[in-house]
């Protein structure tokens, strides 16, 4: 039970991180459906940088920067009205898939996946024994990669930022009515761009968690739709960070359950469907609750 919870925390981390990133772009009015691509890009760059420099710090920073830059490009393109947001997001996703596949071949000479014992994993945070022994919370604290705890801090931070700081107000305002922001003397373009950068960095951290924390490897398409699951969660939560956390935990639990079911001999394909089915059901439930959910 405890290990089930532990893996649920670990698996909900990337979804929550990307969900927070998606929330920022959603509120700023430039919903980025390329969350998946951002995660994949940073997962690859992080592993490559980590492997080359033999340092998890370098890997972490490289992953974050890559996704932040890609997020900036996306939001910049949205601000300059270079194309339909969906089209830009699709392009980002396809580019990420092909660029990482090419990178694997070009840099490591392998197809499909790259793993090496020389990849330095993210450190696990050291927790006093009495804390780790606590029920439920203990499994969250125990032997988790750095990113898991960082995510909890970031979720609280994002909620505070969005609802307790001027910048948060700007982000929420710019998606609703950019002219008001302009009237208040704040550049809407700059706020949108910043939201894109921060959202990108959050997705980047999600990618780093996947390839350096959860596993120490990169494989093609390793994000496996988590970016879209996170997108659905972000749309459902619409800026309510508490709800987003709950949804991410549910998806994490669903995924951890699916792994457990595979181990018990059920054909892997059906348990693997659980997160996607859960997303679809969640979306349907939204509509029963509220009409007019159109993004």
């Amino acid at each position: 039970m405890s290990s089930l919870l532990e893996s649920a925390f670990r698996l909900s981390t990337p979804i929550l991180l990307a969900g927070l990133g998606g929330t920022l772009t959603l509120l700023a009015g430039d919903l980025n459906i390329g969350l998946e691509g951002l995660m994949l890009l940073s997962a690859f760059v992080a592993v490559a940088a980590d492997y080359w420099f033999q340092s998890w710090q370098v890997g972490l920073i490289a992953g974050l920067l890559t996704a932040a830059l890609a997020g900036a490009l996306f939001s910049g393109a949205a601000v300059r009205k270079w194309g339909n947001l969906f089209v830009l997001g699709i392009l980002l996703n396809i580019l990420a898939v092909s660029a990482t596949s090419m990178g694997l071949q070009a840099l490591f000479g392998v197809k499909g996946s790259f793993s090496s014992p020389e990849i330095v994993p993210l450190p696990t945070s050291a927790v006093p024994e009495w804390l780790a022994g606590l029920p439920i919370i203990g499994s969250f604290l125990n032997q988790q990669p750095l990113t898991v705890h960082l995510t909890a801090v970031l979720a609280v931070g994002a909620a505070l930022m969005l609802y307790r700081t001027p910048f948060g107000l700007w982000v929420r305002a710019v998606g609703e009515y950019p002219l008001a922001l302009q009237g208040a003397g704040v550049s809407p373009e700059r706020v949108r761009l910043l939201a894109g950068v921060m959202g990108g960095a959050l997705c980047g951290l999600a990618g780093v968690h996947l390839s350096m924390g959860h596993l120490q490897m990169f494989s093609e398409g390793m994000t496996a739709g988590r970016g879209f699951v996170a997108l659905a969660a972000a749309i459902f939560a619409r800026g309510r960070i508490g709800l987003l956390v709950v949804l991410a935990l549910i998806f994490g639990a669903a995924e951890s359950l699916s792994i457990r079911m595979q181990q018990s001999g059920i054909p892997a394909h059906f348990p693997l469907m659980i997160p996607y089915l859960a997303t679809l059901i969640l979306l349907l439930v939204t509509v029963v609750k509220r009409r007019g959910m159109h993004v």
Binding site: G83, L91, I94, L95, V287, M293
Partner: protein, 342 residues
């Protein structure tokens, strides 16, 4: 006029330069890479036939995307529908007693289209009925369809003589007849041309196609004009799914003769790229599809000769597309400025 032509040229040359830069990162010289690329993409009847054969599924997936995009829904579930279609075609192809003549292949094709159409129409209907964004539902559906068909190929419909997750070979009666022996050019090519013709006819010669286009431009106006937007969306999704299913059938009955997990590769998403690049215009899409197939075949050939990874082809294609989108925007802006100045 001159300024915008220069700009256009610049936007074409930019990705070419980028592509050349990428290609020259390999150990071999750029000219060597380019000649290997051209040779296996175009040179000689065999290379051309391989290009045309490879273009078929790409064009069908592209048409599938274009039909939905034109009416303003984003069917990003093309991938799932291709897999469902391919599995349906394979199942009819290997498990049923041989039918006389064309019937077996025809039946397999029809079922593939039906399965694809049903799945896509369901996404369209959910979109209309519940106002759920189709982008997410169709992508979730992709994962479900890919997993489900992989399950079928691994367990109930597995070829007992092979250890991997593939279905048995389809019977010869279910395979598309070769048009030109020794190549992959089959009767499937006729189906592709037929599909292009049908989509052209629907888009530009029928009320339905006009209404789809109207719906894509502005759904509220279409509704105000008294047209049933729900039925329009569902019908365009159904045709989109049918085309994707046909693409799956072509992959199995025309090219590979069996189903396996991962069979479609990047075909569905490349098709979506084609539709975006061609602005949903069927003929342009078909032309670009041929070009893309030649390029991808060329990259595969170049990979064998040089050290260039063939996946670089995908990256170059996306770069072209981004540049095309930006270039179109720039040109439009330039034209707008000129109009304002005049």
């Amino acid at each position: 006029m001159n300024a915008s032509a220069t700009r256009k040229l610049a936007w074409i040359l930019l990705p070419v330069a980028l592509a050349a830069g990428l290609l020259s990162t390999g150990q071999t010289s750029l000219t060597e890479a380019a000649s290997a690329l051209l040779k296996s993409g175009f040179a000689g009847p065999d290379a051309l036939a391989a290009t045309v054969a490879r273009a078929g599924p790409l064009i069908l997936a592209g048409l599938a995307a274009a039909v939905s995009f034109r009416s303003g829904v984003m069917n990003l579930g093309v991938e799932g529908q291709v897999y469902l279609g391919a599995m349906a075609a394979a199942w009819v192809g290997f498990s049923h007693p041989p039918f006389p003549g064309w019937l077996h292949a025809g039946l397999a094709t029809l079922l593939a289209m039906l399965v694809g159409a049903t799945a896509a129409a369901a996404i369209g209907w959910i979109h209309e009925r519940f106002r759920i964004d189709e982008v997410i539902t169709s992508i979730m559906f992709n994962y479900l369809a890919v997993l489900f068909t992989a399950y079928l190929a691994t367990y109930p419909l597995k070829d007992p003589d092979r250890w991997s997750g593939t279905t048995p070979l389809v019977l010869p009666t279910a395979q598309y007849r070769p048009l030109w022996l020794g190549t992959d050019l089959t009767a499937g090519l006729v189906l592709v041309i037929l599909a292009i013709g049908v989509v052209l006819w629907l888009f530009y010669r029928t009320r339905l196609g006009f209404a789809w286009g109207l719906c894509g431009l502005n759904r509220s106006v279409t509704a105000w004009a008294g047209l049933p937007t729900g039925a329009l969306i569902t019908s365009s999704m159904a045709l989109s799914g049918a085309l994707a299913g046909l693409g799956g059938a072509l992959l199995v009955l025309g090219l590979h003769h069996r189903f396996w997990a991962g069979l479609a590769g990047s075909v569905p998403w490349d098709g979506i790229l084609l539709a975006l690049l061609a602005d949903n215009r069927p003929l342009l899409l078909a032309g670009l599809g041929l070009g893309l197939a030649a390029f991808l075949n060329g990259m595969t050939g170049a990979e064998a000769v040089t050290q260039i990874p063939s996946s670089m082809g995908q990256v170059i294609v996306v770069l072209f597309l981004i540049s095309a989108l930006l270039g179109r925007r720039q040109t439009r802006q330039a034209l707008g400025q000129e109009a304002e100045a005049a």
